[in-house]
């Protein structure tokens, strides 16, 4: 039978506020356990939550960015369950009336087509603490630093049909929250994570199959991996005539498998009800309009502008706009390079990106700033250096030896464009290579292009790469004719 996969994602984006969603404690990552948890985060008797207004503004921003509805009134609810790292015995979340409802998002597929994925809702909630099972003997340690950290849970419609679409969707949301500067997107630290709901149905059937929920997947690669092995597992069961159990499964990247955490029967009845400690959030139309007017340019719009303004290809624009910092870097680079967009794009996507990858650095940590790279490209463009020499210059900049001009100066890398000087080199090599000259002249025209490489190589060697290759080629062709 031919199967169709149905995938929906629940993404948790940690909102980049300084303080927690319902208390004044700081949210910074990596502090000593329990040093960033105040009385409210500890759930001490008598304490009360007070909503951090920033989170509301951030959620609205997100809603507007995905063209969603922002209801006038939104309420917080208590999700009741017991767990040691959940201090109050309930999580303050939203159930009915979330802050963002019904939006949608366009994703680019590998074949170049686009697809619209629906976003059912996005709601605000507090994160729980962390249980630490190692280092305490047969006991468990609790770190409540993370308790009360604001999260935006973004729930998609079951609109995705394979793992690659799910990854594209997740990347798009990742890009948007970073563009909006509402989430740092750091997946290692858990600031951006996702649960995937996966089910199978016979192709053509409208009704959904029974789904499983894959928990806490914290990288794009793992999303794809986890979904694909879950698809295989489900198909195996179904083709053997079995049934899928509705359950929550945990993805284990080390063993490359998913395993059952709890079944539907064991699932909690969360006994949601409106939190009586918090008033409903009333959102005025003027506030929404104000936020809308202040929204930054978003990935799709920026990509289109790059295509129009810089005459870049669809692919290049996509790569450059996927991350806001890369797009910003590119624009600064182009403006320093006096408008040289194509070369800037190539250098950023090529040499720079490779160097960053090699050292696992983000573009914001690049030792070569956008101005430095732009300054170098300017020198390629005005023929001060060749593309080949530029690689040397780039490497020197990467190693902190200064900007392009000072490196070119100190290393004497300025390209030789003086025709007289090049002519001497050309004449020299022709005189010293009679065999090669003869071979060249005897060869049919279509092979000459290849044979000329020898002479160019010799000249570049003589000039230590500084001779302008275009001039060298032209002169050689001229002189070798006779």
């Amino acid at each position: 039978m031919e199967w169709e996969t149905v995938i929906g994602l629940e993404i948790h984006a940690q909102l980049a506020t300084k303080s927690k969603i319902f208390s004044g404690a700081p949210t910074a990552y990596g502090a000593e356990p329990n040093t960033q948890a105040c009385a409210v985060d500890l759930g001490l008797p008598g304490v009360l939550p007070v909503l951090n207004e920033q989170v509301v503004l951030m959620a609205i921003k997100f809603g507007l960015a995905i063209d969603a509805e922002i209801p006038e009134r939104s309420i917080f609810a208590r999700k009741n369950y017991f767990y040691p790292d959940l201090p109050k015995g309930y999580q303050i979340s939203q159930f009915e009336l979330p802050i963002v409802s019904r939006g949608n998002l366009e994703i680019q597929l590998e074949d170049g087509t686009t697809k619209t994925v629906g976003v059912t809702r996005a709601h605000l909630e507090e994160d729980a603490g962390k249980s630490m099972h190692e280092g305490f003997g047969d006991q468990t340690g609790i770190d409540l630093n993370r308790a009360g950290t604001p999260l935006l849970e973004i729930v998609s419609e079951p609109d995705m049909r394979n793992a690659k679409e799910a990854v594209a969707y997740m990347k798009k949301i990742h890009s948007i929250v970073r563009y909006l500067e509402i989430c740092d997107g750091n997946m290692q630290e858990g600031s951006f994570r996702c649960d995937a709901n996966v089910s199978m149905r016979p192709k053509g059937q409208e009704e959904f199959g029974t789904r499983t929920e894959l928990k806490n997947i914290n990288s794009f690669r793992f999303v794809e991996q986890a979904i694909n092995i879950e698809i295989e597992r489900q198909i195996d069961i179904l083709e053997d005539g079995g049934k899928i159990t509705q359950e929550t499964r945990l993805f284990d990247p080390d063993k490359n498998e998913t395993r059952s955490m709890r079944s539907k029967e064991e699932a909690n009845d969360y006994r949601y009800f409106p939190d009586p400690d918090l008033l409903p959030v009333q959102i005025e139309a003027e506030l929404i309009e104000k936020i809308r007017s202040e929204l930054p340019e978003l990935p799709n719009a920026k990509k289109q502008r790059f295509i129009d303004q810089f005459k870049l290809s669809d692919y290049d624009s996509g790569v450059l706009t996927a991350q806001k910092e890369i797009a910003d870097y590119f624009e600064t680079c182009v403006s320093t390079a006096e408008g040289e967009a194509k070369l800037s794009a190539n250098w950023i996507a090529g040499e720079l990106s490779a160097s960053l990858n090699k050292e696992s650095k983000d573009i914001t940590e690049s030792p070569v700033s956008a101005e430095m790279l732009g300054g170098m490209i300017k020198r390629i463009k005005d023929d001060t250096i060749s593309g080949k020499i530029a690689k040397q210059v780039f490497e020197a900049m990467w190693n902190g030896e200064g900007d392009a001009d000072s490196i070119i100066e100190s290393k004497g890398l300025k390209q030789v464009t003086d025709t007289g000087a090049i002519e001497i080199l050309v004449d020299d090599v022709i005189t010293n290579s009679p065999d090669q000259v003869a071979q060249y002249q005897a060869a049919p025209e279509e092979k000459q292009g290849k044979l000329i490489g020898y002479f160019v190589g010799q000249i570049m060697k003589q000039s230590q790469g500084k001779a302008n290759p275009k001039q060298v080629n032209e002169l050689l062709k001229e002189k070798l004719k006779s």
Binding site: L48, R271, D277
Partner: protein
Amino acid sequence: MHQSTLAQLSTALESNQINSEELTRLYLERCKQFNESLNCFITINEELALAQANAADKLRAAGNASPLTGIPIAQKDIFCTKGIKTSCGSKMLDNFIAPYDATVIEKMNAAGIVNIGKTNMDEFAMGSSNETSFYGAVKNPWDQDTVPGGSSGGSASAVAARLSPAATGTDTGGSIRQPASLCGITGLKPTYGRVSRYGMIAFASSLDQGGPMTQTAEDAALMMNVIAGFDERDSTSAEHPVDDYTTKLNDSIDGLKIGLPKEYFGEGLDSNIAKCVEDGIKELEKLGATCKEIELPNTELSIPAYYVVAPAECSSNLSRFDGVRFGHRCEDPKDLSDLYCRSRGEGFGKEVKRRIMIGAYVLSAGYYDAYYLKAQQIRHLIRDDFQNALKDVDVIAGPTATGTAFKLNEMIDDPISMYLSDLYTVSVNLAGLPAISVPAGFVNNLPVGMQLIGNYFEESRLLNIAHQFQQATDHHKAIPGGFE
């Protein structure tokens, strides 16, 4: 001196007839002398009270005293007090020392008030007799075989016996007014949101409200001047201007329109109680008030609605008592579930468990709409009833409780009867209105309270009427035998 009201003590301190240390020692002596029999304190703060008294004397000498500076006031053990045990009447919190002060306590401290002790209460404020306390029942000083009412029974008993000139209480379904009625004192439940709930251990968050328990309405006004006001740490506290609650006390009540709900004087009310309340209303008429019968047609739904909403909220509010971070933890838990079950099983008493179970049930999938949602709808109806009635009248008057103080153990195994005795008080909490109970006479030597219910934020008016009533009557001056 111990028979004095807050207002009188304030004058005595102001005129140097006595200083705070002497006054505090006097009340500490009474507390120690009578607490064994009445059991109204869980903790008597001797050391702290004397330190605060000395500080208050210095403040006064420096000319920085406010009216209540240096006066001892007892605090219900539901308000978190930094460094002093806050038990909430439960074994669960027998070992709990809060690292912070409730807003009410902070305001009292800032006013230089002496925190003489933490009063006994029904466990987590759940009860109408003070018998559910882990620390044992409190006795009513008017007849020590009877209950003081609850849940603020320790506060009511302490003020009635003059072990403290005044106390704080909290009122979720009548927990200030009913014990005030049963102990013959004055108790004000302010408008929901008027007094901050921060640091007041939550029972039912949408109903809980702290307030004063005093000998007179004037004293209640003095205390309200200290504790009322917006608190940014409590999102449900009201950003409504705060009155000086003493300024209107002496206004005439000539022309006041009083509504008498026919549902409050019908069956279920002891005829002797009805007589006391009617006499009280006649006194108000003598002062120029006029009365008319009104209807609050959904009154009978208030008890069932209350006993859905309050347990629902309590079941969730009490989830934090899990033996993990503070409070009672069972010995040698064998796993997580054992830790939860035994810590909570051992730490909570019977009534608290009953309400947690009711609450968890009404919020469960499949029952939510039929119970919780329905109760919330009834709550709207009850609020509308009051709003309609208060269009025609200024205040609503009636009995506070269905009877006088009942015998210890009389109703402890009959929770339904106990719940039904809250008939006149719970609807006020469901509507969020302010109400005051004032002594209106005696039946068989036991006090009877009259309740006055006002519109939102009309505490000043209620205090004015109650004060005028107390200028014309002496019920509030009576002191139980043996405590004079």
